[in-house]
């Protein structure tokens, strides 16, 4: 009897803590998108990654405890043309055979006020890891929340485009990665 009471008490306490802490973490892939903008011969181009897995935890009441881990399957790239898709899979670009996944792992999340946050973390592409700071916003939407943001990286930092592509006159160095990740409250 005592044991049951304790268990009940424990579950009440648990319910109490979860009641005011809405945590968003159930990622909805169909409502999430990772795209990138780049410049080719001065022309703005857009691409997307079709497949990525993300694990995140975000409690608006305690953003400091939030964490995110996103893994992008590089072979799922859509550069805008088939010829481009075949090209970027090669060793000189992503080398998808050797490095199939690009990874972002957050270390700290800093609230900037309003719905603005600054997510610091490590970005690993093609065997190179760099510290990055990603500005992001969080917007609650019904039972789920939408995380949006953009990060400009330099492809040269990650050896994306080597050999003949190493110069930035045809394909620019700056690439803007834009993401929109929708997660349901747990």
């Amino acid at each position: 009897m005592k044991r049951i009471a304790l268990a009940l008490l424990a579950s009440f306490a648990f319910a109490a803590t979860t009641a005011h802490a809405v945590e968003y973490g159930e990622v909805q892939p169909d409502k999430s998108r990772i795209a990138f903008d780049y410049q080719q011969m001065g022309v703005a181009m857009q691409g997307t990654f079709g497949k990525f897995a993300s694990a995140l935890r975000f409690d608006p009441a305690a953003p400091q405890t939030a964490s995110a881990r996103i893994e992008v399957e590089l072979a799922s790239v859509d550069t805008g043309s088939e010829e481009g898709d075949d090209e970027v899979a090669r060793k000189t670009w992503f080398d998808t055979k050797g490095f199939p996944v690009a990874r972002f792992e957050s270390s700290t999340v800093k609230p900037l006020g309003g719905n603005q946050y600054e997510v610091a973390g490590k970005l690993t592409i093609k065997g190179t890891t760099k510290d990055v700071v990603v500005p992001a916003t969080f917007t609650p939407q019904g039972g789920s929340g939408v995380f949006e943001g953009a990060l400009t990286i330099r492809r040269g930092d990650f050896s994306i485009g080597e050999g003949a592509w190493k110069a930035f006159d045809v394909v620019a160095n700056d690439v803007v990665i834009r993401f929109r990740i929708t997660a349901a409250a747990r």
Partner: protein, 178 residues
């Protein structure tokens, strides 16, 4: 009436002729290349040159409307006159339709045309793979038509010069001094 074309008409004719021959060779060459930075550069130059030809053709049309060309030689039978007019109309039509189809194809394939990397042309079509491939076929077919009409055009000019021995070819050439 002057038997020669105006100097402006001659300049535009030969400038555009040179660009068309260059672009035909350019186009067939670049499409066969493997993807490389050079290929992307060549494609851009091809588009920029195509836009330039289109604009030059508009200037030429405007000039043509304001300046009547010299009359065809009197010896030409009605059927030849008809063929000459039809051929010239077709050339103007193709000179406009080919760059237009290239521009639209580029839009449909998702590559905006930015003239000389500076002036962005609007994308009249949204990205649509099937439409892009269709427009590619149209662009190629129009170019083969152009080659056929150009063969007729050059052949006719040579026939006038060497067989009919009239001034149809020479009146488009620089005037002889003297």
């Amino acid at each position: 009436m002057d038997t020669h074309y105006t100097a402006t008409a001659k300049l535009l004719h030969w400038l555009i002729a040179l660009m068309i021959f260059g672009m035909l060779g350019f186009g067939f060459y670049m499409t066969g290349l493997d993807l490389s930075p050079t290929k992307l550069e060549l494609y851009s130059w091809h588009k920029w040159a195509g836009v330039t030809v289109f604009l030059l053709v508009l200037v030429r049309l405007a000039w043509r409307i304001g300046h009547r060309p010299p009359a065809l030689p009197a010896h030409m039978p009605a059927i030849e006159r008809l063929a000459a007019h039809a051929g010239h109309h077709l050339l103007y039509l193709l000179m406009l339709a080919i760059p237009l189809s290239g521009w639209l194809m580029s839009s449909a394939k998702g590559f905006q045309t930015v003239w000389f990397g500076v002036l962005p042309l609007p994308d009249l079509l949204a990205k649509d793979k099937a439409l892009g491939n269709l427009l590619e076929t149209v662009h190629v077919a129009l170019n083969f038509t152009l080659i056929a009409v150009l063969l007729g055009h050059v052949g006719a000019a040579l026939k006038h010069h060497f067989i009919d021995r009239d001034d149809v070819l020479t009146r488009m050439l620089p005037r002889r001094r003297g």
